[in-house]
């Protein structure tokens, strides 16, 4: 089959968590543009409906399902409704997350609530959604799970505990899913976005010089990567995390704009 046809998602349905805004909305739209119907999941109904209107503009079906992805019974009910509506689900994008639980606190200042909130928002949610769809995927002998982590999942920072820890957990969850269900034709992969500001105000844009690329990620850049990972074009790729960060993690903590002196050593 010609390669561009292998990216096609026609006839498939994707559950996207956090679909009401930002990266989740962008991935929903790109998957829809590639042919998929979408189940948009999020906490607030209005943004989900806005995403829905855009998905329908691409001629796809859309179900908005307001869901607390940190509540397993709500997640299980959401998946059951999605299957009832669409018949089968082929793709799950675990994008919901974020939060600033415990940010800046020292270890001894972190509360139990900070810990649970941080883990629940980013890691438990992906675990609950994956667990809720996996039997369905196994039954149909097909499934694609795309998790969303962050550069923070790779590295440490002073008094940053919850976000990096939970995002590192998402990378590990991806590998566990990939290993556990490889024989059932289920693939799990992970996207690690760098800095994709929610709003590119002039003030934010001024800080883009800190990025190796000299700019932030643009929202429309995230969707095609999700399409690639959701499609048959990535059939032999699983357990893998793909950075889309303009080189930020590869550059590490190199001071921005630092260019070592060149020429002969003296």
């Amino acid at each position: 089959m010609p390669i561009l046809d292998r990216f096609d998602l026609s006839g498939r349905t994707a559950i996207v968590t956090g679909a009401g805004s930002n990266l989740g909305r962008e991935m929903s739209l790109a998957l829809a543009e590639a042919g998929a119907d979408i189940v948009g999941v999020g906490r607030r109904p209005e943004p989900l409906e806005e995403t829905g209107a855009m998905v329908r503009d691409h001629g796809r079906r859309y179900l908005a399902r307001s869901t607390d992805v940190t509540d397993s019974s709500d997640v299980n009910a959401m998946v059951a409704e999605a299957i009832a509506e669409f018949g089968t689900i082929e793709i799950l994008v675990n994008n919901a997350g974020g939060g600033s639980a415990g940010r800046g606190k020292t270890l001894s200042e972190l509360t139990d609530e900070d810990w649970h909130e941080g883990i629940n928002t980013n890691l438990t949610s992906a675990f609950f959604c994956s667990r809720a769809v996996v039997e369905h995927f196994v039954e149909h002998g097909f499934g694609r799970i795309i998790n969303v982590t962050s550069g923070w999942g790779y590295r440490g920072a002073r008094h940053r505990f919850m976000y990096p820890i939970s995002k590192a957990g998402v990378i590990s969850l991806t590998k566990a899913l990939a290993m556990s269900y490889a024989r059932e034709n289920i693939r799990a992969s992970c996207i690690a976005p760098g800095a994709f500001p929610h709003e590119l105000t002039p003030e934010v844009e001024n800080r883009s010089g800190l990025q190796p690329a000299g700019r932030f990620g643009r929202l429309e850049e995230i969707g095609p990567l999700a399409v690639f990972l959701a499609s048959d074009a990535s059939e032999y790729l699983s357990g893998e995390t793909v950075l889309i960060d303009g080189g930020a993690i590869a550059a590490g903590l190199t001071p921005a704009g630092m260019v070592p002196a060149t020429g002969e050593a003296n």
Partner: protein, 256 residues
Amino acid sequence: MAFFDLSGKHALVTGATGPLQRALAIALAEAGADVSLTTATNEMAEEVQANSILNECWSIGRRGEALTVALADEPALSDAIAGLEARIAPIDILVNAAHAAPILPFLDTSSEHDAAAFTAGVASVLTPTRVVGRGMVERGSGRVINLASILHDRGVPNCALYSATQGAIVGFTKSLGIEWIRSGVTVNALGIGFYEDLPGPQHDAEIHAALERYIPLRRLGEGSDLQGAVVYLASDEAGFVASELIVVDGSITAHG
């Protein structure tokens, strides 16, 4: 498909005489790019391969040429690339697919083996990148995609020399990706594991069977498995992916 259209771009795939390289070239052509190739020698077998790949690209309406040139010979390569770019178009996509896999016990190797391995496995990536990349940086856009084995960070007996060259490719990819990203040129790598069509121990039937049990996706890779990743990385849509290694290995490195 709304994404990944490579129409109007000119791709160069180096070392295009093997099945993996064929798959990479065909994928780029199918996605719309004109595709040119390099072969190392004028030997009949290589020429037949290269012509057959080009014929397949031409048959779907693309242009492109095959060059016979030593990739690590910078003056010769510069001349060849200048001619190619004048005749077809400036190169937008460079796929460094020339790949050498020296497999020998380390104590059976010599400094001549080292030099040969680094010429075939490293200089043959660095030199084309310098020659073709100069124009990309000047024009402010380009894609460089290097093939690298997962042996860059996994150990296998009798592969020390091979691993050394692959580590070099990955390190090169990371630093150059940062150096060029602001010029609109991305440098990334495509990670490969055990593929049917590469030299290696997998051609022994017993080892092949063991690998099928060991690889989580239960089969060795084929050229077609790399086509999605190379088209993605070559596309305008991947402009914020830099210094990255996308591993397409049937999930080996996620567990092994």
